[in-house]
């Protein structure tokens, strides 16, 4: 059954505290809160004395909500470059729009990220497992593409500052059309009207949204 957005928020908080932090959660001021009632009625949570705990179904549902929230944060920060201070509040509203199915599309678009911008893990979805098994479509590293394949740069993924600067200096930035020409002995690609040769490590950092073939 569909629960309200407020109830989803509480479900998420409960899941984070009980599953990730392994805490016992007390009801405190939330006692008698209509959203808590809603969760209990939906069979997602149980209340015993002062403690509130998730049911089996509640755990599964909570994981999905958390996944949607953190994906939304990733999306806002990676692709829309929303400021960090806004990532959380906007993410809270955005996640509710990510109905199941769309969430996997966004996950694929982001390259199945493992963590949210705050460094917390994003629970794995079915799409992530498929991606790891090699069936991933949508975005992929230049290093994983085949010669002749093209698309647009999705983003740059590297923690190394000098590598990042080199990639940016070549004009390889999100949105630029890019075509891989050759993969061995070096990666040769065309971006705009220029061609560049890079080694594997740089090619791994360039994430491309590949065009449908």
């Amino acid at each position: 059954m569909k629960i309200s957005e407020r109830a989803e928020e509480i479900l998420e908080t409960l899941w984070v505290r009980s599953e990730e932090k392994a805490e016992q959660v007390g009801l405190g001021v939330a006692r008698g809160n209509p959203e808590v009632e809603e969760l209990v009625k939906a069979g997602l949570a149980t209340v015993r004395g002062d403690r509130i705990a998730l049911t089996e179904r509640g755990r599964a549902e909570g994981e999905k909500v958390t996944r949607r929230h953190r994906l939304a944060e990733r999306f806002l920060s990676d692709l829309l470059h929303v400021k960090e201070r806004l990532v959380h509040p906007v993410g809270c509203r955005f996640e509710h729009l990510l109905v199941e199915g769309i969430e996997d599309n966004i996950c694929a678009l982001l390259g199945h990220p493992r963590t949210c911008p705050h460094g917390r893990p994003i629970p794995e979805g079915e799409c992530c497992r498929r991606f790891r098994e090699g069936a991933g479509k949508g975005v992929m590293a230049l290093a994983a593409m085949e010669a002749g394949q093209g698309g647009r740069v999705a983003y740059i993924q590297t923690r190394d500052r000098s590598r990042l600067q080199k990639i940016m200096a070549m004009g390889v930035l999100p949105g630029m059309p890019i075509t891989l020409i050759q993969t061995f002995p070096s990666y040769v690609f065309q971006v705009g009207q220029s061609q560049f040769a890079v080694d594997e490590r740089l090619a791994e950092g360039i994430i491309v949204r590949t065009a449908a073939r």
């Binding site: 600067q165 080199k166 940016m168 200096a169 070549m170 004009g171 971006v191 705009g192 009207q193 220029s194």
Partner: protein
Amino acid sequence: MRRRFGRRTRQAAPSDGGRRIVIVGSPNVGKSLIFTRLTGAYAVVSNYPGTTVEVFRGWAHVGGERYEVIDTPGMYSLLPVSEEELVARRILLSDRPDAVLHVADAKNLERMLLLTLQLIEARLPVILVLNIIDEAERLGMAIDVPRLERELRAPVCATDATTGRGVDALRGRIEEYVSRARMGRH
């Protein structure tokens, strides 16, 4: 000797307070040919990246004024990753140029604009030179230059340095630009 290998960058800043034009741009866009067209001196076209770090200096007469013209090693960005870019940036940022000609490959506008925008952000007196315009036209590209000037709020010239097309217009823009900047200063 005009051309010397491995000229020290510290020698790159001249001491006199004369007028100065600095030419910048990524490798292989015809910077040296623009330099040659402006100064009349025959500079060797050092085409390709990675051979030597060289700085060319010459003199140009534009609108009755004498300018020192400096051709810098190729640069892709104001954040340097190579020695060439470091040298180019030092010249650009320490020589207080009256005009900075960003020579760009017209057929590669989107990629080239990244440096133009950086130069504008750094509030340098930029003139964008869309060079090799003939090649772009042969590829069926058309660039709306007046619109580009409005977008950038900086002068833009289309040239083809091999034939000399557009170079006189470029001189005109330099003169106009420098004299307007001078008016603004007084």
